[in-house]
């Protein structure tokens, strides 16, 4: 087991290095740097000015060198600016260049400085991740139990009408991407002029004009049912169908097993068969699926956070990517690789622990 985890961690590191290098390469292509220079400096810079700006800020060094600096195995580049002062990525504004450390990279715990938010990357990432964790927590809380319930109900009598109805529902949720369901929800539940809102208001059931809010910006500080339910529901719905289908398949398989038939022939009540005999074995497979679903949810998070203007991790990704904020983007990709690979690891280990057949052999 220890060796297995070690191998996994090594793969993870290697993947992270390759991936960040790809991101590094793509964000450091010249047109991207040119755009960065123009947004940071001045929109009307000439080509020569752009080049001098880039040289001054150390963007035009060879790619491997820059990458090594970011990792922290090479000393950070320093240049003299117009006033004769020494500047560089290791020297935060306002400190003495002589006191600044020579190396500053990920290994030293320095993640860089965001050009969009004008804040250290590590700070941005930690606050934004916290917000997204809050969102994901509620998504999981809504998605997992309902998906399992649907899957078990559908799978316990395969081919019945219940199964058909629930399976069709599960298929429809997987066929509804977040930007479609989110748009429909906002139009029907969060619009002050259409949908349910005006009606409920007229009845005096709600104070405002809409039962839910179309934006979740307020939920960042103070999440309420009103401003947080729609984004949570939107993400949960898309993920739900897949997990439900996996649970259904697993449940249906278990229900055909010999020991279930034995229990039936012994005259055990159907309810007891499902609850006591089938359920535990049927939930092994969905567990792995739920863990593997997390990276997919990340996608949904980006869309939903953009749609509902909830300034979490996904929203940061979009901001960083559309403004070519190199260091922030690198940090974002490291975090997402970490999430993807750690969930894979957990799902593998969890599978071993949950499945007695594998555990004992």
């Amino acid at each position: 087991m220890g060796l297995f985890i070690l191998r996994r961690v090594m793969t993870m590191l290697l993947t992270a290095i390759c991936l960040t290098f790809v991101v590094f390469f793509l964000t450091n292509l010249y047109p991207n740097l040119e755009k960065l220079a123009k947004t940071e400096g001045n929109m009307r810079m000439t080509d020569a000015q752009v080049e001098s700006w880039l040289t001054e800020n150390g963007y035009l060094q060879p790619l491997p060198l820059k990458y090594a600096q970011w990792i922290g195995v090479m000393p950070g580049a320093r240049t003299l600016d117009d006033d004769g002062e020494e500047t560089g990525r290791c020297i935060p504004p306002g400190t003495d260049p002589a006191e600044a450390p020579r190396f500053c990279g990920v290994l030293q715990g320095y993640w860089g400085f965001s050009t969009v938010f004008k804040d250290p990357v590590s700070e941005i990432i930690s606050t934004r991740l916290g917000l997204t964790a809050k969102l994901m927590f509620w998504v999981m809380l809504l998605m997992v139990p309902s998906a399992l319930l649907i899957g078990v109900l559908a799978g316990m009598r395969e081919g019945s009408r219940t199964d058909r109805t629930l399976s069709t529902f599960a298929i429809s949720t997987t066929a509804t991407p977040e930007y479609v369901s989110g748009v429909i929800f906002i139009a029907m539940l969060a619009s002050s002029r259409y949908g349910l809102g005006p009606l409920l208001n007229e009845w005096g059931l709600i104070a405002g004009n809409a039962p839910f809010k179309g934006t979740a910006t307020g939920a960042m500080e103070d999440a309420t049912f009103q401003n947080f339910f729609l984004p949570v529901l939107t993400i949960a719905l898309y993920g739900m169908g897949y997990i439900a289908r996996m649970t259904r398949a697993s449940m249906a398989e278990v229900m055909t097993a010999q020991y279930i038939r034995t229990a039936r022939l012994k005259g055990v009540k159907f309810r007891n068969i499902v609850m006591k005999h089938a359920l535990r074995n049927a939930l092994i497979a969905p567990f792995t699926v739920i863990m593997l679903q997390v990276p997919w949810l990340l996608n949904g998070v980006v869309i939903v956070e953009t749609l509902f203007n909830y300034k979490g991790f996904g929203w940061t990704l979009v901001q960083a990517a559309s403004n070519n904020d190199i260091e922030l983007l690198l940090a974002v990709s490291v975090v997402s690789v970490f999430v993807v690979l750690v969930t894979q690891l957990i799902s593998d280990i969890g599978y071993v622990f949950l499945n007695p057949r594998i555990r004992i052999s």
Binding site: T11, L14, T15, L19, V22, V23, L26, L29, P31, N32, K35, R157, S160, R161, T162, R164, T165, L166, S167, T168, F169, I171, S172, A175, T176, P177, Y179, V180, V183, I184, I186, A187, M188, S191, S192, R193, Y194, G195, L196, L199, E202, A210, G214, P295, L298, N299, I303, T306, L307, G314, L317, V318, A321, S322, N324, V332, S333, S336, V337, V340
Partner: protein
């Protein structure tokens, strides 16, 4: 000219009938659901879910259609009416509960009886819908004739006036829904012909024919073919759309469905059927034009992803070892990227400037050639005559297309060596295409690899190995045909996923130009004013939903039917 109503001139006459049937359906559904809840017999349990599903659907439908979009200027249903309807629903629920209790104490299997009643009520609702459509279509000219009859022979209006009045009066008596249905006439005809022929000859059509044995599969196939035919008739014959996708009309900004055009010329369609967007363009036409983009890109991109995935996945699964480790690592690397980050890195205008998409196209578009080449070579290796013939027949045209596809005559183009450049792919489309293929291939690779590892242990593979067949022959002509079932199912699912990805790209404004009518871009445009004007974003959203749903149902039907063998 008055704005169009949703159900036209005859809609209101069917309302009482519909009301009766809906009341019946809800009562029976609820009653059956309650009864099923009381005695948990397997036979009855379905009604519980059907009841709930129908109730939800009706609620959503009523609120949506009447309160949300019926509001063509004056014709909105008053809120109090909707309130009454909801109140009535609650009353019905109580009534159903009492009825259930009553039936349960006197009858033998009331749930089944109620279930049947419920089913017939639903059929009745469908019949009313059909009847409404038939009446609306047949008597659409009646109002015009009445109007004509009010004139004496002496003071008849001029021929143009009559023609103009007839046109408008027909439109108005049809209403928005019937008009939309009418616009799709060629699609309906094509669908009827396709289904007629397919069902007639379904026993001779293999797996495709078997599809028509499963209801789910038929529904899914119908939805998919609806959009395929729509894209075909719009793209090739320019039929269904009422306006051009970029036409703007004065005073139509954010106007509600059914709003007439101001000062429309006789050649123009005088109404925006589904309203105008924030740049005063016709939403219906844009939605219809959007289908051509999706239908062009999604299946082809999926096919390319399959070529890449199969060409790499076969040897990886067959040989295992170092090759497999390396390729799997690469695939996992791409899969570890969040898709949206990858899109942002690949599809920005700056990246297009560097020519990266073109280089990627050069690599990715090569895979079909490699695949076909290996396919032919492995089959006809011992028959040089046939080998050369087939190679020439297939590879030369493919190469011409390949070279023309990667070459671009544009000023920013990085690859421009080919004199026979018959066509240029618009840069936006190329970037989107390449990105989508790139994202999809690793998953296909993993699926193919897994299938190969599974099939490799079969006896017929061992037999072929004993015969002394070459590895590539075994992979392509022994293993691949036997993996076709799961691959076909996954192909359908993956087209749906690709459609979602295309929508995602549009939603973030990546790749395609902002005025492009594709669904993702239109949803993105519409979401900005969503809580004030929901109508521009909803039609493309539902279009995308129906296409993806159709593909998923089709895959489900195919899976079910292919498992029956």
């Amino acid at each position: 000219m008055e704005p169009l109503t949703w159900f036209g001139a005859y809609g209101s006459s069917f309302a009482p009938l519909l009301l009766v049937l809906v009341t019946l359906a809800i009562t029976c559904g609820l009653c059956a659901a309650l009864l099923a809840f009381i005695d948990n017999t397997p036979r009855a349990s379905f009604s519980l879910f059907n009841g709930i599903a129908v109730l939800l659907l009706l609620l959503v439908g009523f609120t949506y259609v009447f309160n949300g979009l019926a509001g063509t200027e004056g014709g909105a249903m008053p809120l109090s009416t909707l309130g009454w309807m909801l109140g009535a629903l609650a009353g019905l629920a109580i009534f159903a509960a009492m009825l259930a209790w009553f039936l349960d104490s006197f009858f033998d299997n009331p749930a089944a009886f109620m279930g049947i009643l419920f089913k017939w009520a639903i059929y009745g609702i469908a019949a009313v819908a059909v009847l409404w459509l038939a009446v609306t279509l047949l008597w659409q000219g009646a109002a015009h004739k009445e109007w004509l009859a009010t004139f004496d022979a002496a003071d008849m209006p001029s021929a143009e006036e009559i023609a103009e009045h007839e046109r408008i009066s027909r439109l108005q008596s049809l209403g928005i829904l019937a008009n939309v249905i009418m616009r799709f006439t060629p699609v309906w005809i094509a669908l009827v012909v396709l289904y007629g022929v397919s069902i007639r000859y379904k026993r001779r059509l293999g797996l495709y024919g078997k599809l028509f044995d499963s209801v789910i599969g038929m529904i899914g196939f119908g939805l998919v073919m609806f959009w395929v035919f729509t894209a075909f008739f719009v793209g090739v014959f320019d039929m269904i759309a009422t306006h051009a996708s970029l036409d703007q009309a004065t005073g139509m900004k954010n106007k509600l469905p059914g709003t007439p055009l101001m000062g429309a010329t006789p050649e123009e369609f005088p109404v925006y059927l589904l309203g105008g967007d924030n740049l005063a363009r016709d939403i219906f036409s844009r939605m219809v034009y959007g289908s051509t983009i999706v239908i062009q890109i999604a299946p082809l991109a999926t096919l390319f992803a399959f070529m890449v995935g199969i060409t790499l996945g076969l040897p990886a699964g067959y040989y295992s070892g170092k090759l497999d480790t390396a390729l799997s690592f690469l695939a996992n690397l791409i899969l570890a990227f969040p898709v949206i980050l990858l899109f942002y890195l690949l599809v920005t205008p700056e990246i297009v400037e560097t020519g990266l998409p073109q280089y990627m196209a050069t690599v990715l578009f090569l895979f079909p050639l490699v695949f076909m080449g290996v396919l032919i070579q492995s089959r006809f290796r011992t028959q040089p005559q046939k080998n050369i013939f087939w190679m020439a027949l297939i590879l030369i045209p493919l190469f011409l297309i390949y070279a023309a596809a990667i070459n671009d005559g544009g000023s920013h183009s990085k690859i421009r060596f080919w004199p026979l450049d018959f066509f240029d792919i618009p840069p936006g489309i190329l970037v989107v295409f390449v990105a989508v293929v790139f994202v999809n291939s690793p998953t296909v690779f993993r699926i193919v690899r897994g299938l190969v590892m599974d099939i490799q242990t079969r006896d017929y593979v061992a037999a072929a190995q004993t015969r002394g067949e070459r590895p590539w022959y075994i992979m392509l002509w022994e293993i691949l045909p036997n993996a076709r079932g799961p691959l076909i199912v996954d192909f359908c699912l993956r087209i749906g996923y690709t459609t979602i990805l295309l929508g995602t790209l549009g939603f973030f404004g990546l790749g395609l130009p902002p005025e492009s009518p594709d669904w993702g871009t239109t949803i993105n445009e519409g979401r900005k004013l969503l809580s004030i004007y929901p109508h521009p974003a909803l039609p493309p959203a539902f279009a995308l939903l129906s296409l993806v749903l159709g593909l998923n149902l089709l895959a489900d039907g195919l899976r079910e039917e292919s498992l029956k063998d």
